[in-house]
Symmetry: C2
Subunit: 354 residues, 2 copies
């Protein structure tokens, strides 16, 4: 953070800080392509937000620096200094240690295999306490507490994007298992089936993950199958087959895109139904880049694809689109900071009194 930026933040902050009532919390959603930062008040109203691209080179320290910048920008908009936040929550991919806030093995982030002390690094950078949780789980928590899952006691969150992630709330509490629960993307929907980006066969993600779908489209196009998907990518100057490119191809009636999305819906219906048969949860909330982009009509199709596989088909779960859209991850991250958190800053270090 440059001195200039700090200056700008500080001057804006003076006016706005008077209007902000109660403690302000920060939320960070660390994705493979973008970082989303927000500052929220006691009632989870967004006072400021910022979005920055995730670094594609360097290492964890560079990603942490970019996260800190995003928080500062969101704070600037909210009119508060980062060190005045009552805490910052981070939703992170990879293996998260919620006790220490260390993150390891974040496959989609640059050079991030070994454990990196993310909470500690960000905390000393921002001057406030930092908690780290699993990205998909915090997004599920947000939908449960603030979004489409509010009316229920038990939900399954399914995040349909580059991969397919899942989060569970059982009897009002997040279910993490031994720390790695929720891998619904690696439910086997077809024994001996298509190769998944994870290296295994027949996983839900092998059919429904945007990454796997792009690879499949590329393979079939090479074999001579016609599609406008790659043309649309070039036209829009994209290097990845984003949700909006898939959406556009479907609108144009692209046959290959339609087939691949049909397969994805079928796989999602099958895998989610199996999870429902095992857990008999009340509701399924579908988010993620593709889930949010396609919205209610596609979620209705997923619910229909579940039906033939539901053992108790007379009482299917409710199936909803994620209500918080793109902000769910950052809102859920902010929920990691205890509401009662109060700041006590002394000599540059931070201490949180819960």
């Amino acid at each position: 953070m440059s001195t200039n930026t700090t200056g700008r933040v500080a001057s804006g902050a003076t006016d706005r800080a008077r209007r902000v009532q109660g403690p302000v919390r920060g939320g960070l959603d660390l994705g493979g392509t973008k970082i989303e930062a927000i500052a929220v008040d006691r009632r989870n109203r967004v006072l400021g937000s910022a979005r920055r691209p995730t670094p594609t080179s360097g290492g964890p320290a560079d990603v942490a620096a970019e996260l800190a910048r995003a928080v500062s920008e969101a704070c600037a908009e909210a009119g508060i200094e980062p060190h005045a936040l009552s805490g910052v929550g981070v939703g992170s991919p990879g293996s998260v240690d919620p006790q220490t806030g260390a993150v390891a093995n974040a496959r989609n982030l640059p050079g991030w295999q070994d454990s990196f002390p993310l909470a500690e690094t960000l905390s000393s950078e921002l001057g406030t306490s930092v908690r780290v949780g699993n990205d998909v789980q915090v997004a599920t928590d947000a939908e449960f507490k603030l979004g489409a899952g509010k009316p229920y006691r038990s939900i399954l969150g399914v995040f349909w994007g580059t991969g397919v992630g899942g989060g569970l709330i059982l009897d009002r509490r997040p279910w993490l298992g031994r720390g790695a629960a929720g891998e619904i993307g690696h439910t086997v929907v077809k024994s001996g089936g298509r190769r998944c980006p994870c290296g295994r066969r027949g996983c839900l993600e092998a059919y429904a993950g945007r990454g796997a779908m792009e690879a499949r489209a590329r393979k079939l196009a090479k074999k001579g199958k016609h599609t406008d998907l790659f043309h649309l990518m070039e036209e829009r100057g994209r290097t990845r087959m984003t949700s909006s490119i898939w959406g556009h191809a479907l609108e144009l009636g692209d046959k290959l895109a339609t087939e691949l999305i049909d397969e994805a819906i079928e796989a999602l219906g099958t895998g989610i139904a199996s999870a429902v048969n095992l857990l008999d949860i009340e509701a399924v909330v579908i988010g993620g880049g593709l889930g949010v982009r396609f919205g209610a009509p596609m979620v209705k199709r997923i619910a229909e694809a579940m039906t033939p596989h539901l053992f108790n088909d007379w009482r299917p779960p409710a199936v909803h689109v994620a209500a918080l859209g793109d902000l769910g991850g950052a809102l859920g991250a902010a929920l990691l900071v205890p509401r009662g958190a109060r700041k006590t800053v002394d000599a540059g270090s931070t201490r949180r009194d819960d």
Copy 2:
């Protein structure tokens, strides 16, 4: 129960009752082919047991009468009158209402579609309070509290028999969902795959349930595939392909039996791995007729079949054979009776003071 039998029970009871310390609970496991009854002491030691065939005709009232007879026999062995039991628990198939003890839709029992007041009927027959739970869930509870699941906080019980049932303990508490959780047998392991006895396609049970395996063997034998399975059934005078017939066929190296069991193991490995990916539980306990009959070597094969599908393959769950064997269901049923239950019998009716 005839007067003669009562006489015998009563005379035996006088001696033994003096040795029984504390309250005695009854447990009933109501299966499609047999009823298992036990009487246990405070420390869940079996004081008496009895086994009777499940009626194949009549209706719920006939089944209830047979259940009462089995309890009386187990009590006779334990040296206690049924009405002196502090309570009786029943593990039942079908849709169980744990509040009222009513059971509906028990597909494998004669004429049992509509709701039948099982707890009420048995209670007035036996002169003690009766609680009813789901058969698979009580067997899972028993393994968790007394058997192979004791060292863990979260387990998945898989009961591999005529069908494939499942029960969950999450963070030391049974997880029932909206009352119908645990249907791991209807996890789809192969989209568009083999027809399941439930009518759906590709379920785990379609490959691993003894009922489905027998139907498959019959179909393939009709098509001219050689097998000794049916010969073994005739030889032993059986009308169903029991676990021991499958065991014997495998020992003889029967090719079709080997193929079908291989498919079952593969399906079990796949479906259980998907459940583990979703829940990240600590341990899997495998019971049921086939699970108990085949024991550790086969459970080891199931664990191996899980491995290629486990997302966190560096930390697989423990996989155990059910430690309580055939008695697990009845022991779990007895656990439905609160330990603190005390009997107060007045004028033939019963009241339980918890």
